[in-house]
Symmetry: C2
């Protein structure tokens, strides 16, 4: 498991962020927020998919006024996403569990002051959500839309909030490309201990958004950076959660669920490995116990991988071995291997 | 663009690896290599998908003897993948463009010596392909299957080849998890200048293999590490190439093709962005010119992103702007935007 950089802990509704809290997964609805029924339905879908915190856009007063009805029908913590108009933030702050402001477009600092006061009164945190595409003019002019510009904006706004006695803060520094995103988070991390909300913004459709987010968020998670995260995919809900959870698992930042090691298949293979692995993947989806399993098609790495796996199959010609913690527990014909493997996995999941 | 760490340049058939050569993409067939027709068919599919170098497994002498017939029917550089039996390497070396050996399982060093001699005579390189799951016993015992153990094995074998006057080498250090893979490549990089073949091994089926490879290879590419790469996906051919190319593009290691920035859609949106982006993605697939485009659903980041985009759409309510290099070139109704956008992209692609 990766050693996380220790951050201050804050609370968004019932979810802790930072400190020793698990890295939480967020998403955002794409319904009109004023359409309460549609928004509640999307939030419930996200909740079911494993989302920890949900955010909704609040572009107009009608949307802000719908938040109370939404909040009453959901149990996920609710974040209001505010741009341009501080009055929307003041209205939202009466109801939601966190306010996200984009400091680059709220305008006069006296308005931010009012937002801070409203959040202070209800003890809800503020996310300073810096986006490279919408920096304050002063930082855009001085640094361009660079990592340095994003960090300068974040630091300026952190100080502004701190000077008002407010430190219930989390920070995001999103750019639409991986390099700037990673650079910005790395640059700001040593400068304070506020929890970070990770994300690559406007990452595109499913395929590229998955890859951009995996590279960007994965790189940071490997360094112990990141306390909560969102994967942005154009037009998807559940998929954002699935990808986010997979990035956590595959980077080693979370151990929950099965890690399936399987070889890519090559000319050495004597068995129908692809069917076996697909079968195993489908039948173990529900398991949350942190198990490492390997399903290998030939002897080259099978025994080495099995030594570190909780449960393993090493296929040979027409038959193979089931191994538990590196020990052979059965030598079976090919068609019996998956059944035995799964029963061993289920047994270990129960025990763990 | 990322600054790559400068490496020695080698040649695999007609493909240069290392130095200032573009990062090449490799894959591997899963047919029985002795089945010449099936193997040639898979190699042609990979070639068509954009693969630069192909590798085949050579588990038995029948496979080694099939290499000549395969080589005659393909134009991609051919690499023979050898484990355990050095005689297979000697036979393969008569025909192929590169030999991959797993030093952990070739056995006595006198046998490696014979392989080196065979490669020297035909001026073909050797990939020292270290796998965490099959280290030499001495390193496995001393370090376990750790990054340190992988690096110790690589260094030992590099020195062995160098002492025989052989330096036509590339190196891979693959583990089945991202953390060890990244750690091993990082550890070895400052110690020599041989080109690196990147890969996370046994990464599993499509979804997780994509994410593991994106995290592992992306993290290294962002640091300028990596000269050639393979994405391993259980039971896939073309998909390995598509994912590898996307990792290169999305990490910023390659600029080829369109980079589409599109927002995830939220309650602010007034247009059918998902259809527009899908349409644009499908209709610009063939373009190899390195263009940045953005398709944004509201004003929050649209203008900021458009300023850095070659071509952009900023949607509003019922209409929107087409922008070129930050300048508005047209204000059109919603249904006209994509057409104009694509004609601008095609024009710029022609000019570039």
């Amino acid at each position: 498991m990766i050693q996380r950089i220790k951050t201050k802990q804050i609370r968004v509704g019932g979810v802790l962020i930072g400190g020793d809290a698990p890295i939480s997964v967020q998403s955002m609805t794409y319904s009109k927020t004023r359409d309460v029924a549609a928004t509640v339905e999307q939030i419930k879908r996200l909740h079911f998919a494993g989302c920890d915190i949900v955010r909704v856009a609040v572009p107009e007063m009608e949307d802000a006024l719908a938040l109370r009805a939404i909040k009453e029908q959901i149990s996920l913590p609710l974040v209001a996403d505010i741009h341009f108009n501080y009055r929307l933030a003041l209205e939202a702050a009466k109801v939601v569990d966190c306010i996200r402001i984009n400091p680059g477009n709220i305008g006069e600092k006296s308005r931010v002051k009012d937002i801070v006061k409203a959040c202070q009164e209800r003890h809800i945190p503020i996310r300073i959500g810096v986006n490279a595409g919408s920096l304050e003019k002063i930082f855009d002019t001085r640094y361009g839309q660079s990592a340095e510009g994003m960090v300068a904006s974040a630091e300026y706004n952190i100080k502004f909030l701190e000077d008002l006695g407010f430190s219930d803060i989390k920070i995001s520094l999103k750019a639409s490309d991986v390099e700037r995103t990673v650079a910005a988070y790395r640059l700001l991390r040593p400068k304070n201990s506020y929890p970070f909300h990770l994300g690559v913004t406007e990452a595109g459709t499913k395929f590229h958004a998955t890859i951009k987010s995996a590279i960007g968020l994965g790189t940071l998670l490997l360094e112990g950076i990141g306390d909560t995260m969102r994967v942005s995919i154009t037009g998807e809900l559940e998929e954002e959660i699935t990808v986010a959870r997979a990035i956590l698992k595959d980077s080693g930042a979370s151990s929950e669920g099965l890690n399936i090691i399987s070889c890519p298949t090559c000319g050495r293979i004597e068995a129908d490995l692809v069917s076996a692995v697909s079968d195993i993947e489908a039948r173990t989806k529900h398991i949350t116990a942190p198990l490492n399993v390997s399903v290998m098609g030939c002897v080259v790495n099978a025994i080495g991988e099995a030594a570190h796996a909780d449960v393993a199959i090493a296929y040979g010609k027409g038959s193979g071995l089931v191994m538990v913690k590196g020990d052979v527990v059965a030598k079976l014909s090919e068609h019996e291997l998956v059944e035995r493997f799964i029963s061993e996995v289920e047994r270990m999941a129960k025990e763990s």
